[in-house]
Symmetry: C2
Subunit: 102 residues, 2 copies
């Protein structure tokens, strides 16, 4: 992943509400009973936020666009999943220096 793509991920997480949204999805997915699924309902996440539905929709699109999550419609609902590789790569870049020290 090049610097521009990393910056894009950073930008996706640079808005407090969007970061909370991502972290909430992360938590909810981790807490999922069906461990093999690791998905969560967007409607469950939404209710803990005070911002409107259009804004949530916009933020989800940004997170998706940055490669941080995927979403899928399941009937009436939308489910979200974390793309772990993306955040792992970001952490790797930020750890670059320390790794070299080993």
């Amino acid at each position: 992943m090049n610097t521009k793509q990393i910056a894009k991920v950073m930008k996706a997480l640079s808005n407090p509400n969007r970061l909370e949204l991502y972290l909430e999805i992360l938590r909810k997915c981790e807490a999922s009973f069906k461990a093999e699924d690791r998905e969560c309902l967007v409607s469950d996440v939404m209710c803990s936020f005070k911002i409107g539905a259009p804004t949530i929709s916009h933020h989800l699109k940004e997170l998706t666009n940055a490669g941080l999550i995927t979403t899928e419609r399941k009937g009436k609902f939308l489910v979200a999943r974390i793309i772990e590789d993306t955040i792992d790569e970001v952490k790797d870049v930020l750890s670059a220096a320390k790794k070299r020290k080993k």
Copy 2:
């Protein structure tokens, strides 16, 4: 560190030029001969960028403001140092889920 502060750090790293600037400072500091110093000359970093001095100055202020670096004047020059704790905390938040799995 709360979510807003994490978002602030993300925002500081969300501009490609500013991210490159941070990573370049990181690399230069790591490569510093005097290991106990871990500092680098801003003028050395600047020349690898095609953006102007006022913009670099602005970006350095943003990085400083986010708690990612510190700067200090040494005679005619400005030296920069990485504040490692800040980036470590960001990585911790993003690793929250995996940590719990242990």
